[in-house]
């Protein structure tokens, strides 16, 4: 027998209680894994975009378009390397499946987003085909699309000039991401702006946002300020910000999901703290004479403290890791079912590991200190 064996034997003293406690920890960490992944998505989820791009939108709202005539002025700002614009197309596939599709100039997209990986032939086809559509790998895979397919997509925002909401595009390319993070961003697609601009019913020459690739990321603040000042007091005032801030702000239109998630997690962990803390405390209370015997046999206060803490930590570690392990494939399932780039990845596991350590200490420390401070004579006498 080892000390670890002794800890495990004590954990199995009341099997039902231990299993129920473990289940509560597993459930809490399953929730933690998924919710924290959502939290990451809505807060730090745009970290991967880096600091090389700015996004300029209409100051009023990103739902208001900006005229394309601003392009030359933006391009002329020192520090600007390349500018693209995109217009939100939306898109509905079949009955009511919403798609994230935007109209862009293919050549500019290629220059501004080198993270998107597609063959030269596909880029060329995208640029040269007016009805071209390129889909992200995940999107294409989800609906079984292949290059050469004609893809009918409806738009609730932009009907065609004949009033029809139905558009048909030629799938000419399937893009991927350069790394794991970017590969997760392949749930959307791009269409050729030239065709869209000419064929849609509402207004021409309008950009949803401008996306500006910087020659020097250190000049981002200066470039943003210059652009916004340039259009100050004009009918087309702009709000220019780092791409990450824009992305996070976009998500926050839905609400401060991060805050909501944090409050839910707080409630979950507070409850867990009470449940597990009570279990450990009760387990120590039931074993006062046994703990006194350990000390009688020569185990130091530190050893007894260690035994109780180890029991708490073992419960939390097994339950926590199991919960996170279940959450990981579930996250993948949610990703493929909804397209939301939820991933229980390294960051979530790291936060989970920290939560496990904090929880172990929070639930184990007080009972462990109580056990360590037992007076042998009083404990054996039942005082």
């Amino acid at each position: 027998m080892t000390r670890t064996g002794f800890v495990i034997a004590n954990l199995w003293r009341k099997k039902t209680r231990t299993v129920l406690t473990l289940l509560s920890i597993v459930t809490a960490f399953l929730l933690f894994g998924l919710l924290q992944a959502v939290n990451v998505l809505f807060t730090a989820g745009a970290d991967f975009v880096g600091a090389t791009r700015l996004v300029s939108q209409a100051r009023v709202s990103f739902t208001t378009s900006l005229p394309l005539r601003l392009l030359p002025q933006i391009e002329a700002v020192p520090g600007v390397e390349r500018v693209m614009w995109s217009q939100w197309f939306g898109g509905v596939w079949q009955e009511n499946t919403q798609l994230v599709i935007q109209a862009v100039d293919p050549a500019r997209l290629h220059d501004v987003y080198p993270e998107l990986v597609m063959s030269d032939a596909e880029w060329k086809a995208f640029a040269e085909t007016r009805t071209a559509f390129v889909a992200g790998r995940q999107l294409a895979s989800k609906y079984g699309w292949k290059i050469g397919d004609k893809v009918p997509i409806a738009s609730n925002i932009f009907p065609q000039q004949d009033g029809s909401k139905n558009w048909t595009f030629d799938l000419v390319g399937i893009f991927d991401g350069k790394d794991e993070e970017w590969q997760r961003q392949t749930n959307g697609g791009w269409i050729n702006f030239a065709y869209f601009d000419e064929a849609n019913q509402f207004g021409r020459g309008l950009a949803g946002v401008y996306i500006i690739r910087l020659s020097d990321p250190d000049r981002a603040a200066q470039v943003a300020e210059t652009i916004d000042r340039m259009f100050e007091n004009s009918p087309d005032e702009t709000k220019t910000q780092a791409e990450k801030d824009f992305t996070v702000g976009f998500f926050k239109q839905i609400g401060d999901i991060g805050l909501i998630v944090r409050w839910i997690l707080f409630a979950v962990f507070f409850t867990l703290l009470l449940v597990v803390g009570n279990t450990i405390a009760q387990s120590v209370r039931e074993r006062i004479p046994e703990l006194a015997i350990l000390k009688t046999l020569g185990f130091s206060n530190g050893s007894v403290l260690g035994f109780v803490l180890a029991e708490a930590a073992t419960l939390c570690v097994i339950g926590g890791l199991t919960g996170l392990a279940i959450a990981t494939p579930l996250g993948v399932g949610i990703l493929s079912a909804t397209g939301l780039p939820i991933a229980v990845d390294g960051r979530v596991w790291l936060m989970g590991a920290i939560a496990i350590i904090v929880l172990s200490l929070a639930v184990g420390l007080l009972p462990a200190l109580r056990a360590a401070r037992l007076t042998i004579v009083d404990a054996l006498a039942g005082r």
Binding site: T2, F6, E290, I293, K295, L297, G298, N301, I376, V377
Partner: protein, 231 residues
Amino acid sequence: MSEAMVQVRNVQKSYVRGKQTVEVLHGLSLDIPKGDFVALMGPSGSGKTTLLNLIGGLDSPTSGEVVVGGERIDRLSGGRLAEWRARNVGFIFQFYNLMPVLTAERNVELPLLLTRLSAAQRRKSVAIALDVVGLADRARHKPKELSGGQEQRVAIARALVSDPALLICDEPTGDLDRKTADEILGLLQVLNREHGKTVVMVTHDPKAAEFASRTLHLEKGQLLEQAAAVA
């Protein structure tokens, strides 16, 4: 007279219970030679268990000296005292105090986790200790699967396994029937006579005390012999 295993010198012990200070031992002195088997008798509240706890290093005197095996244990701090207990004393209690989640052999092995013995060496020591108490065939049984006498034998094996010179027994037969009690006391006698263990046993039972080589009587925190001398 042979070398003293236990020397208690002018020991006083008092406890604070609520707002009251209860003085349990009043300047008690006592010598127990190595290899002795002493029974401590006396009415409830006479200080028997308190004296036993002081000799076993489970408690410290309010004043006075307690020397066991040549070591002033009343001066040892909590951690050092715990180490000392692990090396020098085996404890046997009335209610056995075994770990219910461990088998007999695991219970016996428990004190050896404090040593540097390898797993194989520990297993061998456990087997010997269980053999000495006649429970080799019950090694894999948990306490609830054993009779009271068998549980006490496991407790004795646990007390023996690290080969301490001193065995402290607090009412070791108080929870057993006469026949089983006699078997346990016989075993303690064997450990005393054949293995040279010094045994200090608290008991209320005069028949149990007959197994000891001498009996000391306590009353009101003093040995009767001392009290008589003072009078």
